[in-house]
Symmetry: C2
Subunit: 401 residues, 2 copies
């Protein structure tokens, strides 16, 4: 296995620090628009890791690099706006492909908060036949959310439930960053994208959308995190899970917290969430890029961050015995642990560990397939076992049904 890792940001760098401890692959080429970033990430690993420059907005640039290094797998770790060129570049080079976010959505032109327009991943699924015909695999959405949450969905269907009412991904944390008035722990570009787009819901056999930040609900997160207010957010799980797992409803709610919601609403009100460039004096810039440039780099916040982050799936329905069941399957990472063990903050570490586990299952043939597939298309047990073997166990909590 020869991996081309596209993107040496927070998640890409954490990917290297996790992969370096494993021996299932031959080489990782770490590529970034900034060669210096790629070199830093590669240098932090071992001699199997080398650095290269790439333009992720160009499928040709990605394909040329993949061919040059005879990559068997292209691992996409850049902002979701580059999903399509990296996805197409991988296919052009005859490599398998993995990502942690899917191709972007476009709201419905007339009823954005009722009907779906172009959905998350639609552009990728449109190419599924071509991937299948080539016998190549695109494993989409294999971070933590989407990713581990989707593995949980498959596990719940296969081992815990006879009938599923709702697959409700719930994400929350008690993270705080000392010395910053406002310091998101994940890419603000992506956070704005997912939080301001119309949230999507799967219900009774179809997808529909709702208003941003709708249906607030307090969810009590485990391992000392406690209750956090969660709201509907557009997320890949809602598009992935119902394709492979029977359920009446699929939702995603994010524990953004009130302050964060207010910030996002204000950015939207002022048009600062826009990605189209505006003219400012003699230059043109995307307002959203300016917002990102003004905030601290999430990857660098680890040393001043405290708390835990939790990703998980709340499943309701009927258990294997036919009785009502309500179960939360979850994965918690303590920032203190991830900083001490890996030198990466918990949110990017938690995202990056899952594709490393998946690649190890692919190289050993435990997971295999062709086409455009989500994590719930594969057996969950070997994934969860290997994640635990990586030193990062998952948990299960029964709730009142």
């Amino acid at each position: 296995m020869r991996i081309l890792l596209v993107g040496a940001g927070g998640v890409g760098a954490a990917f290297c620090s996790i992969a370096v401890r494993r021996d299932f692959f031959e080489a990782v080429v770490v590529a970034d628009y900034s060669l210096a970033s790629a070199e830093r990430a590669a240098a932090s690993a071992d001699e199997r890791f080398t650095a290269a420059q790439v333009d992720a907005s160009s499928a040709d640039s990605v394909a040329a690099l993949a061919r040059e290094h005879r990559a068997t797998h292209v691992m996409n770790a850049v902002d979701p706006r580059f999903v399509m060129p990296v996805f197409e570049g991988a296919r052009a080079a005859g490599a398998d492909y993995l990502d942690m976010a899917m191709s972007l959505s476009r709201p419905h032109p007339d009823a954005p908060y009722e009907k779906t327009g172009l959905k998350l991943g639609d552009e990728q699924f449109a190419a599924a036949g071509a991937w299948e015909a080539d016998g190549r695999l695109a494993l989409v959405g294999i971070g933590v959310e989407p990713g581990l949450s989707d593995v949980f969905a498959r596990y719940a269907a296969d081992h815990l439930f006879s009938e599923i009412d709702e697959l409700g991904t719930r994400d929350g944390s008690n993270l705080a960053v000392e010395g910053h008035a406002f310091a998101p722990s994940f890419s603000i570009w992506t956070t704005i994208e997912e939080c301001l787009n119309p949230p999507v819901i799967w219900e009774d056999g179809g997808w529909r959308t709702t208003e941003p930040f709708s249906e607030p609900e307090v969810f009590d997160f485990p391992e000392g995190i406690g209750p956090v207010e969660c709201v509907n957010v557009e997320h890949e799980e809602v598009l992935l899970m119902p394709r492979w797992v029977d359920c009446r409803r699929a939702t995603f709610k994010y524990g953004l917290g009130n302050e964060f919601i207010e910030v996002l609403k204000t950015l939207h009100k002022l048009g600062l969430d826009r990605t189209e460039k505006v003219r400012v004096g003699d230059v043109e810039v995307s307002p959203r890029d300016v917002v990102a440039a003004c905030l601290p780099n999430p990857a660098g916040l680890g040393p001043r961050m405290t708390g835990k982050t939790c990703a998980g799936l709340w499943v309701t329905g009927r258990g294997s015995d036919g009785a009502p069941r309500s179960t939360y399957l979850y994965h918690v990472v303590d920032n203190e642990w991830s900083m001490r063990e890996y030198g990466h903050q918990c949110v990017v570490w938690q995202t990056a560990v899952n594709p490393v586990v998946a690649l190890e299952l692919l190289v050993t043939g435990v997971w295999s397939g062709a086409g455009v597939l989500g994590p719930e298309a594969f057996d969950a047990v070997p994934f969860l076992d290997l994640l635990t073997a990586y030193g990062s166990p998952w948990g299960i909590q029964e709730l009142d049904a």
Copy 2:
């Protein structure tokens, strides 16, 4: 009188539309960084108005243009960051000078919310001796606030009060803009500057500062505007009034409204109020300029704006008869009126009318002086009479003392 008007934004264009109805001057050269803007403003007036290009950040550029057109008066109508080069350019060219905002402040390095650092106008007042020696006048802060509010202070001291406790400028409106989630009616650059700087207060013979948005107070504005929550904001009146008018206290409170305050706090929290450039991809921009570029141009909002704006001074103390007195002197402009009569929205119109009145008093010799002087250094009565003659009367309201 030959006027060089520097700045053809909202206020500059309104200045032209007001001045064109008067015959006290010979020529106005309308200058802007954008020649097209200058040409538009000049073309809307008559043959006495011509257009030119100028770089307001360069005193040499301003001086050269003033000399070329033999300007007797330089009228500054650009953002306050350009006050010093325009002020110095006017002096270098031997012209008198007027502005509507003063040189910028810098917070105290150690105790920004207790002590003043460099105060608003300090850089201009430092040059007062030189202006006086040249026999030239710099009439600073002669818009509406500062400007008309300062005229009110002088009027109150001369005609209404024997002893003044507080000179409290209070600014509020009931303006709304249809079709925009957020549309400030005045330059957002200036609004951020004044609202996020430490507010300054004159008290017992000295200046001190306080926290932004401090001492919220509901003030009941006249002519149907009604109660608006006002908070402390850094403003020139507090620096000007106590230099010429005896008072125990001078304050400025602005009826920003809760939504606006939250927006400003969020911009500050995210660092988007900063003026220093940040690198975004291949370009460098000032985040505050990006915020301004994302919002609608305040000068263009008039047709969709409704409501009235009120500028005024709340004076408390003892009346001429020695009895306690509490009086609000004010000036209200209805947007519907200013749009119909002048084609300019009420906030920029209300700012621009005052320097036109002042120039007319200077050319006729009713007002005269040398040095760096505020509006309260001159007799208030002829100013208020001429303002009324312009069709825009002021009002007076007695409050419970």
